[in-house]
């Protein structure tokens, strides 16, 4: 048992580091930038695209992808190693590309022909084109297969009508992966078909939604008689659910680790060191210490769970189901730590931004946490997934199973 690289891993790490040293400056401040800023700030976006292109040319943009497609056909472990080394350098986070490269393009690569791949993979991996995921609708998020956006075929052309919601980054996107209903007369999972489309084409209306946190990360999209050719279909007609599962599998891997805005026990301790409570310094208060320890063991547990997952990858094995627990732990921990920190701040905790202690980090964490508990599968859906797929417990009783979609009960 150790944390050492294998000889091949060590060699790859050295190569990656040498390359990074030649192309970037070491990070001085270890502060995460707000990912939304990157997208809405043209100068930051330009830097992010440039860095993406440099990495793609070298094959370090998506290490596990084939050569010529931004990768080197490398192992998942090499991708992790590169990520670790890259995080030590002052380079753009590239969060604008995460959904496209993490979910949409892998789906395109799995289902589309070579001509489509040749057209779309490279621009995406080089940061020239941004993709978004058009799945959730007012009618269905957790139950995404309940979506209603219609695609109707006439000759070789499909006409799209309907709306999507909660689409992250749609306002900055060039293309979208679109899940539609093509047959409402069959049970809901059987009447779906996947497409991709240009977000800039006539009939696509993108309206940013202001979030509870005040930012506008996601959008509402309206489709009015949008025409797309049959060649933009991803997978067979009626096979949309299987295609979507490919995307969602990638989503879970992408959303899983590392989120939480960098707020954790270390920041809580930093705050507790500076505050006085009724009985003395907050850091010496027994109740504060118990809470810190509770959250520390969850953070540490997650960190070492990740190392166990990496060990499996390093040995060329499939990671075990333990990889599925990350988001449940991270999202509620962020919410709880933030709320507790504000408790310690007391009356002054109502302040935000520069007026609040530690530049309002906890207020910001607390405001964004509800979104993290919902996005990419809610806490409840993730517990269902662990219960059913990891522990093998039965599915919920389903009232919509063999019923044609247009006969399934729906609320208002």
């Amino acid at each position: 048992m150790d944390f050492e690289d294998s000889p091949e891993e060590a060699q790859f790490r050295a190569e990656a580091r040498a390359w990074l040293e030649g192309h970037a400056k070491p990070k001085i401040k270890r502060e995460a930038s707000d990912p939304l800023d990157e997208r809405s700030d043209p100068a930051a976006m330009k830097r992010a695209r440039e860095w993406q292109k440099i990495k793609a040319d070298k094959g370090y943009a998506r290490i596990t992808w084939p050569k010529g497609m931004g990768g080197i056909g490398g192992t998942p472990m090499q991708a992790i190693i590169f990520g670790q080394e890259e995080s030590k350098f002052d380079v753009p986070a590239g969060s604008a590309f995460a959904i496209g490269l993490g979910m949409c393009i892998p789906t395109v690569m799995a289902y589309c022909n070579d001509a489509v791949k040749a057209r779309y993979v490279k621009p995406a991996v080089e940061g020239a084109e941004i993709w978004c995921q058009l799945f959730s609708e007012p009618a269905g998020g957790s139950d995404v297969a309940a979506l209603k956006t219609r695609a109707v075929k006439d000759g070789d052309t499909w006409t799209i009508n309907g709306s999507k919601i909660w689409t992250t980054g749609a306002q900055f996107s060039d293309y979208g992966l679109l899940l539609t209903r093509t047959d409402p007369n069959v049970p809901k999972h059987k009447g779906l078909t996947m497409f991709y489309l240009s977000m800039k084409q006539p009939g696509v209306d993108v309206r940013p939604i202001k979030q509870a946190s005040g930012a506008s990360g996601f959008n509402e999209i309206f489709f009015t008689d949008v025409k797309i050719p049959d060649s933009q279909r991803v997978g067979e007609v009626g096979q949309g659910w299987q295609v979507a599962l490919t995307t969602l599998m990638h989503e879970r891997l992408a959303v899983g680790g590392g989120q939480g805005g960098g707020l954790d026990v270390a920041q809580l301790m930093q705050l507790a060191r500076t505050l006085e409570l009724e009985d003395g310094p907050a850091i010496k208060n027994a109740a504060v210490r118990e809470k810190i320890a509770d959250w520390y063991v969850r953070s540490a547990g997650l960190k070492y769970t990740t190392l166990r997952t990496m060990t499996a990858l390093s040995r060329g094995q499939q990671p075990g189901p333990e990889a599925s627990i990350a988001k449940i732990v991270v999202a509620s921990k962020l919410q709880d730590i933030s709320a507790f920190a504000m408790e310690l701040e007391g009356e002054a905790g109502v302040a935000t931004g520069e007026d609040a202690p530690m530049h309002g980090a906890f207020q910001m964490g607390w405001l964004s946490a509800p979104g993290l508990r919902i996005a990419g599968g809610t806490d409840e859906i993730l517990r269902n997934i662990i219960a059913e797929r990891v522990l093998g417990l039965p599915q919920d009783v389903r009232v919509d199973k063999d019923v044609p979609f247009n006969k399934v009960p729906a609320g208002k």
């Binding site: 048992m1 150790d2 944390f3 050492e4 690289d5 294998s6 891993e9 472990m77 026990v265 270390a266 301790m269 850091i283 027994a286 210490r289 118990e290 810190i292 320890a293 509770d294 520390y296 063991v297 969850r298 540490a300 547990g301 997650l302 960190k303 070492y304 769970t305 190392l307 166990r308 990496m310 060990t311 499996a312 990858l313 390093s314 333990e322 627990i325 449940i328 732990v329 409840e380 993730l382 517990r383 269902n384 662990i386 219960a387 059913e388 990891v390 522990l391 093998g392 417990l393 039965p394 599915q395 919920d396 009783v397």
Partner: protein, 374 residues
């Protein structure tokens, strides 16, 4: 990255599981619950024949000289099986105290007997309810004589020897403390069996009245030595706790799949599914923390105090949750003496208290974080 046990270590674990599933079912535990309580002497002898007590004891002192990682995998299996034997007292505490603080002569004299299973040992610290602090230790070691009382000493009735935290000088603080090694069959030792939350892990109050005892380690280092021993024991015990917690999850799952209510298996109700999913999350986090503790223990890393505290807190929380929610998942049958659920409920608390409560470990954990960030 190689953050896992090796194939050889996993083999040891598999063998241990096979052995214990043959020799130690919950019937073994139940027999003690229905009788006078205590340990299963026959099982202890069989475990001794397997050489498990000597797993981490160096060969020069009669052990197998394997290492702590091998001991961790054995511990997990003992925890799964609820093995009613004085293994933790003898191996994680008594032997570790000798290894940490003993002289060469003391090790040569006693460790081979631990390794062979001839000697049962224990470790005595608390003198009453509440926190154990340097100032609460009143037992004295003076001129080779030990006086004072220790309470709720696990395996105190069966043990042949004990390591006792005592005061070796008039200094009332930490500097006055020293570990003492005492033969519990000697004159001046009065033992009284006390009721134990977990009858298969018995406890005793022990009174010393000028009993012959020898110093174990230096005067002034008693507290630190005890802390070190507790850190070692915390990591090893965390594996027992993780083992127990995993069994609770498996029991809850099996029962939920076969028990029907409202025309469907209770395992299809979300309240049950989410409970079991939470158990799974807790158990995985605890396992990962225990692995890190095992790494720190086996390499003597300076992160050990933090790693041990985290392993301890995480495993205690996981086992507590799994044990109580296993009963809840079983409904009324889970609350009966007949069902096995209460064995785990009681063992989870026994293990959670015997090395000191969560509160104390959390305080140590944060102290380590303060030091490492300072």
């Amino acid at each position: 990255m190689n953050f896992d046990f090796s194939e050889e270590q996993k083999q040891i674990k598999d063998q241990a599981r096979k052995f214990l599933s043959e020799k130690c079912s919950t019937k073994t535990v139940r027999a003690l619950y229905n009788g006078a309580g205590g340990s299963d002497a026959a099982l202890w002898r069989q475990i001794a024949e397997m050489g498990w007590m000597g797993t981490a004891i160096p060969e020069e002192f009669g052990g197998l000289g394997l290492g702590y990682l091998e001991l961790c995998v054995v511990a997990e299996e003992l925890g799964r099986a609820l093995a009613p034997v004085p293994f933790s007292s003898t191996v994680y505490l008594f032997a570790e105290a000798l290894i940490a603080a003993g002289s060469d002569e003391q090790k040569k004299r006693l460790l081979p007997k631990v390794a062979s299973g001839e000697l049962i040992g224990t470790f005595a610290r608390a003198e009453g309810p509440g926190a154990v602090l340097p100032k609460t230790i009143r037992a004295t070691l003076k001129g080779g004589k030990l006086s004072g009382t220790k309470t709720a000493v696990t395996d105190g009735m069966e043990a042949d020897f004990a390591v006792v935290l005592a005061r070796g000088s008039d200094d009332a603080g930490e500097r006055g403390l020293q570990l003492a090694l005492v033969d519990l069959k000697a004159k001046g030792v009065e033992r009284r069996a006390i009721g134990s939350l977990d009858p298969s892990r018995p406890a005793a109050d022990i009174a010393f009245e000028g009993a012959n005892a020898e110093a174990l380690g230096k005067l002034g280092e008693g507290w630190q030595n005890a802390e070190r021993v507790l850190q070692h024991a915390a990591v090893l015990t965390a594996f027992e706790q993780v083992g127990g917690a995993d069994v609770c999850l498996a029991m809850a799952k099996d029962y939920a799949m076969q028990r029907y209510a409202f025309g469907r298996p209770i395992a299809s109700f979300q309240a049950i599914k989410h409970k079991l999913a939470d158990m799974y999350v807790n158990n995985e986090l605890a396992r990962s923390n225990a692995y890190y503790g095992a790494w720190a223990l086996s390499t003597g890393a300076r992160e050990l105090p933090l790693a041990a505290a985290a392993a301890r807190v995480s495993a205690t929380q996981a086992f507590d949750y799994a044990a109580k929610e296993n009963i809840q998942t079983h409904g009324g049958i889970g609350f009966t003496w007949e069902a096995d659920c209460h064995f785990y409920y009681k063992r989870s608390r026994q293990l959670g208290l015997a090395l000191g409560p969560q509160r104390a470990w959390k305080d140590k954990l944060v102290g380590e974080l303060e030091r490492s960030n300072a």
